[in-house]
């Protein structure tokens, strides 16, 4: 009977001691400032696109006929041509398109050209699409223009249309699928009308790149 009482006492003492040790350990772990913050970066889940222009003027203009032959920076008629960047094998392609987010299709569209006086616009036309270019050999007609984006080594430039269409610069196989973080350097080529109706000396077009779900 006495030994049983001793056993109970010993167990009780050990239990109280154990609780004390655990308590102390718990106190030890709650030292102020002992916590650690860890940040984990994750892959983006957004579809996004960024455009960075590296050049600010249409240049490298040529074609047209006297007295309206193009100068280096002024578009002439009929069917003068200008470009953003100097296009060709060793050319420069100053506009950077970056598919910063998840894999997407990159499409591009353009607006009509709006004259400074907001008068008669140049309609964006297409050789094979709608509205069709009405000039000779598929060239833009009166108050029409056409444009395309292009990149170094690209065999098929992307003719610009009013509704978004695949920007072939991103996919050599004929699509426009862009991988995550894929970027391309592009230039723009513009062919002006056979004849202008509006007397403005500047026309503005808007080119929009859009990232869409594949």
């Amino acid at each position: 009977m006495v030994s049983r009482v001793w056993a109970v006492l010993i167990v009780g003492i050990l239990a109280i001691g154990g609780i004390g040790v655990v308590n102390k350990a718990a106190h030890t772990t709650t030292i102020p400032g002992g916590s650690t913050n860890a940040t984990v970066n994750v892959l983006p889940t957004t579809r996004s696109i960024t455009v960075s222009p590296g050049q600010v003027t249409f240049s490298d203009c040529h074609r047209g006929q006297r007295p309206y032959h193009s100068t280096s920076t002024l578009l002439g008629q009929p069917n003068g041509e200008c470009s953003v960047g100097t296009l060709g094998t060793h050319g420069t392609y100053p506009i950077t398109i970056d598919n910063a987010g998840i894999p997407s299709n990159i499409e591009v569209s353009a607006s009509n050209a709006v004259p400074a006086d907001n008068g008669t616009r140049w309609r964006l036309c297409s050789t094979h699409g709608h509205p069709a270019c009405t000039g000779p050999r598929g060239a833009p007609g009166v108050d029409q223009y056409k444009a395309r984006t292009t990149a170094r080594g690209e065999l098929n430039a992307t003719p610009l249309t009013a509704s978004p269409a695949c920007d072939f610069v991103f996919d050599a196989s004929g699509g426009c699928r862009a991988a995550r973080g894929q970027l391309r350097h592009e230039g723009i080529k513009l062919i002006g009308p056979t004849r202008f109706s509006d007397n403005s000396t500047s026309f503005t077009i808007t080119i929009t790149w859009i990232a869409v779900a594949p």
């Binding site: 579809r47 506009i95 997407s104 077009i205």
Partner: protein
């Protein structure tokens, strides 16, 4: 030897003269070097503020960029929409990925390929459309789907297009950006009571209908259930706590 010494003196004289000429050239060279250094220093001092001034006047030279992003996950309505009703769609996450503040505008346009009717843009109302979003900042834009009474039933598919309106001008070309995510929902028939109700409501209605049918069937069958109550013996406990004899 003397002659040679004369020659030597001559050489010496010549050498002296040469030395003097060298000194003059050297000093001239040094002076020129000083001038060149001064010019370079002035150029270097002027170049920094000039470059800063140019970058301030023409910010595009600092590789300004415009960018916009939208959530990759499609915007979906998880119930079947009923004609004549409106629904709150999950807010759309948009982000300005460019280096300058942008006006973010949104519209509905069919860009995705696949089955489904095109969503008429007038069915979607954006709250906070045309908001100003600082560079590298994001926001969530609430959408509301308003289905007109005469809407055709079926699946609908279009895209929510987020446009960054801070276009960068390249000569007379404005460069713009946009990003799109799918918009998907289904519209039920106008006569269907069910599609607009939640599932638990349908279950309750179903259970009630089932109970009503069961009661009706029971009555029609002519079965009768008589419920009679037997007197409870506990009611006959007397005041002394004992039982009254039965």
């Amino acid at each position: 030897m003397f002659g040679s010494g004369d020659d030597g003196s001559g050489d010496d004289a010549s050498g002296l003269a040469m030395t003097m000429r060298l000194s003059a050239a050297e000093s001239e060279y040094l002076a020129g070097a000083r001038r060149r250094f001064g010019r370079r220093l002035v150029r270097a001092i002027l170049a920094v503020p000039a470059a800063l001034g140019v970058l301030i006047a023409f910010p595009w030279l600092a590789q300004a960029s415009i960018g916009v992003g939208v959530q990759g996950a499609p915007v979906r309505l998880h119930t079947v929409a009923r004609p004549g009703s409106s629904y709150a769609l999950p807010p759309v996450y948009v982000v300005n990925t460019g280096t300058q503040d942008e006006m973010i505008s949104m519209r509905v346009q069919r860009l995705s390929h696949g089955p489904g009717r095109t969503v008429p843009p007038s069915w979607i109302q954006f709250t906070g459309n045309g908001m100003q979003l600082p560079a590298r900042k994001s926001a969530r834009v609430p959408l509301e789907l308003v289905v007109p009474a005469g809407a055709a039933p079926g699946k609908y598919l279009s895209d929510v297009v987020v446009v960054g309106t801070a276009a960068i001008s390249v000569g007379k070309t404005n460069l713009g950006v946009a990003a799109a995510t799918k918009l998907e929902f289904s519209v039920g028939r106008a006569s269907d009571a069910g599609p607009g109700l939640s599932s638990w409501t349908l279950w309750v209605i179903g259970a009630l209908l089932l109970a009503a049918v069961a009661v009706l069937a029971f009555r029609v069958s002519g079965l009768q259930v008589r419920v009679s109550r037997r007197p409870d013996s506990s009611k006959f406990i007397n005041s002394q706590g004992g039982y009254r004899g039965q």
